[in-house]
C-alpha cells in the first residue's frame, strides 16, 4: 500500500471504520513512514481542534421579537388528550386506522412474531436457556429475550453479521437491540467474550455499571452479582462509558460522561454508581492495582497516588493521563511532573494548561501518548474456531 492510498485510509483509520486487519496494515505502514505519521498527526490535530469548537454561537441580535411576532399568527398542530396522553389530530386519525389494522394483523400475529429481529444462538456446552426453553443445538435470540447459562453451560451468539459473543457459564444476557446501526446486549451477570469486526460504535454491551462501546476489537467482560465487573481488552480499543456514548472518536475522556478508553493489553474495572475506573496494563503489580482501585472507588488520596507514580513506567502514561482530571487539583502538579518525566508533553502542552485541565492540551497529549505507546496487538485469548462460529 503506497502513501496516497494510506492518506485515504487514515481518515477511516481515525474514524475507526477499518477492520482489524486493515488497521494493522495501516499501522505497519505508519511504523516505517515518517511522512504518513506526520499526516496522521495533522489529521488528528484537525479533528481535535474541530472537536473543541464551541457548540453554541450567539446571533448578533435577539431573534425572539421576530419569532414571537410570527408565532402569534401561527397555529400549533392540534392535539387531543386521551387518558392524559397528548395526541395530535394526525395521531388520532392514525390511531383509528391502526385499530382497524390491528384486528387484521392479529390473524397474522404468529407470522409477525417470526419476523421480529433476532440473532442466532448456538449451544457450546451444557443446557443454555433462551427464555424458558432449553437450547438443544441452535436457536433464535429475539429482541427482549434473555439467554441464561448455568455453571456448566456455554453459548455462542452471532452478532448480526459483524461478529460473535461467547457467553460463559453462570451468565444472564439480554438482546436489547438488533439493528444495523445498534447491536446491543445487556450483561446482567456472568462473563462474555466478544470478537467484533465492524466500524466502531455499532456494538454495545450494557452492564449495571457502564456501557462497553466497541471500537473494533476483541474483549472479555465480566459482571458479578452486585453489578461490579472488569473489562479486559484483547485487541483494538474499547470505550467504557458511564452513561450513553463516548464523546469523540479521538479517545478523549469526557468527564461529564465519565469515559475510559481501554487499549489492547489493558484492564479496566467498573463499579455501580461510579462507572469505569482508570485503565491499566494487566501486568502491573498488585500494589499498583490496589492503589488505583482505592483512588478510583474508595476515596483514595495522596498515598495511593504516590504508589502509582512510583511504580509507573513510560508505558503507563495512558493510565496517568486518565487520572489527570480525576485526582484532586492539589495533586495534579505531582502527577504532571511524573508524566513529563516518563513521556514529555508535545509542543503546545504546558504544565499550567494541564493543571487547569485545558481540553485541547489534554487531547494533544493523549494523541501523543497513543502514538508513542506500544500497545500490544497480539491476541492472547482463545480464538473462536470456524466450527464454533458457524451460526
Amino acid at each position: 500500500m503506497n502513501c496516497n492510498e494510506i492518506e485515504i485510509r487514515l481518515n477511516d483509520y481515525l474514524d475507526g471504520v477499518l477492520s482489524v486487519d486493515e488497521s494493522v496494515e495501516v499501522e505497519k505502514h505508519l511504523e516505517s513512514c515518517l511522512s504518513c505519521r506526520g499526516e496522521l498527526l495533522r489529521l488528528r490535530n484537525l479533528m481535535a481542534e474541530t472537536a473543541a469548537l464551541p457548540k453554541e454561537l450567539a446571533p448578533k441580535r435577539d431573534l425572539w421579537p421576530q419569532i414571537e411576532g410570527r408565532i402569534a399568527s401561527t397555529k400549533q398542530a392540534a392535539s387531543y388528550s386521551f387518558f392524559g396522553i397528548r395526541l395530535t389530530r394526525k395521531a388520532v386519525t392514525m390511531a383509528v386506522a391502526a385499530a382497524v389494522m390491528l384486528v387484521a394483523a392479529g390473524i397474522f400475529w404468529k407470522i409477525r412474531q417470526s419476523d421480529q429481529p433476532f440473532w442466532e444462538v448456538g449451544r457450546l456446552a451444557g443446557s443454555p436457556k433462551v427464555g424458558s426453553s432449553r437450547l438443544v443445538d441452535t436457536g433464535k435470540l429475539r429482541v427482549g429475550d434473555w439467554l441464561e447459562t448455568d455453571d456448566s453451560s456455554r453459548a455462542l451468539i452471532s452478532v448480526g453479521s459483524i461478529g460473535h459473543v461467547e457467553v460463559e457459564p453462570g451468565s444472564r444476557v439480554q438482546l436489547v437491540e438488533a439493528r444495523l446501526t445498534d447491536h446491543r446486549l445487556a450483561l446482567q451477570k456472568g462473563a462474555l467474550e466478544a470478537q467484533i469486526s465492524a466500524p466502531p460504535r455499532l456494538f454495545f454491551v450494557e452492564t449495571p455499571s457502564a456501557v462497553a462501546v466497541d471500537m473494533g476489537c476483541a474483549y472479555r467482560l465480566t459482571v458479578d452479582d452486585f453489578g461490579a465487573g472488569e473489562l479486559e481488552v484483547i485487541l483494538g480499543w474499547v470505550s467504557l462509558v458511564r452513561n450513553g456514548r463516548p464523546s469523540t472518536s479521538l479517545g478523549v475522556v469526557s468527564q461529564s460522561n465519565h469515559e475510559s478508553m481501554v487499549p489492547a493489553g489493558a484492564v479496566c474495572l467498573i463499579r455501580p454508581g461510579v462507572g469505569p475506573g482508570t485503565p491499566f496494563f494487566k501486568e502491573k503489580s498488585l500494589q499498583f492495582q490496589q492503589a488505583l482501585q482505592k483512588l478510583d472507588f474508595e476515596k483514595g488520596g495522596a498515598a495511593e497516588l504516590q504508589t502509582i507514580l512510583a511504580e509507573s513506567e513510560a508505558s503507563d502514561a495512558f493510565t496517568l493521563w486518565h487520572l489527570l482530571p480525576r485526582v484532586a487539583s492539589v495533586e495534579r502538579g505531582r502527577l504532571f511532573d511524573r508524566m513529563a518525566e516518563l513521556m514529555p508533553p508535545p509542543d503546545g502542552v504546558t504544565r499550567e494548561g494541564i493543571l487547569q485541565l485545558d481540553a485541547e492540551m489534554l487531547k494533544l497529549w493523549k494523541e501523543d501518548i497513543d502514538l508513542k505507546t506500544d500497545f500490544p496487538f497480539v491476541p492472547q485469548a482463545k480464538t473462536i474456531t470456524p466450527e464454533r462460529s458457524r451460526l
Binding site: V17, L43, L53, E56, L63, A78, Q255, S256, N257
Partner: protein, 191 residues
C-alpha cells in the same frame, strides 16, 4: 459541558441536569404558553444558531433559518411526546430546516451569497477564542457547500455517515469522499 460534547451527550447532560424543569417548559409551551416557549428559545438558540451558521456559512441567512426553526418547533411542539430528549428533537428539526433550504437553493441554482460569516463569527459575542479556532471556523465557512455540510454534521455535530447519507439522500461512499475532501482542504489551510 466539555467543548467536544456530542449531541447525544448534550441531550444526556440536559436530562441529568433538570429533566423535570425542561419537560415542564415543553409541556406548558405545548398548550400555547409563549413565555415558556421564549425560555426554551433562550436556552437553545445558541446551539441552533451554531448549526445553522456552520452549515449555511452566512450569518444573515443563519439568523433567518434560526427563526424558521423556532417557528416550526412552535408549530410542531404538540407532536413532541418525549420519546427523545427535547434538544435532540430540536436539533434534528434545525438540521432538516437547513438542509431543506440548501436543497431549495441548489434547485434555484442561485449563486452562493457572499458571506458575512467571518465578521459574524468574530462578533458573535463569544469569549475571546484561542488563535486556532477562528482560523478553523473561517476555513470551514470557505469549504464547498456539500463538503462543508457533511464535515459539520460528521465532525462537529457527531452524526454518522449512514445518518448523514440518509438526510442528504447520498450514498455513504459519496459522504465519506466529501468528508475526506473537506478534511484535506482544512488541513492545507491550517498547515
Amino acid at each position: 459541558m466539555p467543548a467536544q460534547a456530542t449531541i447525544m451527550e448534550i441531550a444526556l447532560e440536559e436530562n441529568r441536569e433538570n429533566p423535570g424543569y425542561e419537560w415542564e417548559l415543553v409541556r406548558r409551551a405545548q398548550t400555547g404558553d409563549r413565555p415558556a416557549f421564549e425560555e426554551i428559545y433562550r436556552k437553545n438558540v445558541g446551539r441552533v444558531y451554531a448549526v445553522c451558521l456552520r452549515i449555511c456559512a452566512d450569518g444573515g441567512r443563519a439568523e433567518e433559518l434560526t427563526q424558521d426553526v423556532f417557528v416550526l418547533a412552535w408549530q410542531k411542539l404538540p407532536t413532541f411526546r418525549g420519546e427523545s430528549a427535547f434538544f435532540s428533537w430540536l436539533h434534528r428539526l434545525a438540521v432538516n430546516v437547513v438542509l431543506m433550504e440548501q436543497r431549495a437553493k441548489k434547485r434555484r441554482a442561485a449563486k452562493e451569497v457572499a458571506t458575512d460569516e467571518l465578521e459574524n463569527l468574530e462578533q458573535s459575542g463569544l469569549a475571546p477564542a484561542p488563535g486556532g479556532r477562528l482560523v478553523l471556523e473561517k476555513a470551514i465557512a470557505q469549504l464547498p457547500p456539500q463538503a462543508r455540510t457533511i464535515f459539520v454534521l460528521h465532525d462537529v455535530e457527531g452524526y454518522r455517515h449512514n445518518e448523514i447519507a440518509g438526510m442528504l439522500k447520498l450514498a455513504v461512499g459519496t459522504c465519506k469522499a466529501q468528508l475526506f475532501r473537506a478534511r484535506k482542504l482544512l488541513k492545507e489551510v491550517l498547515r
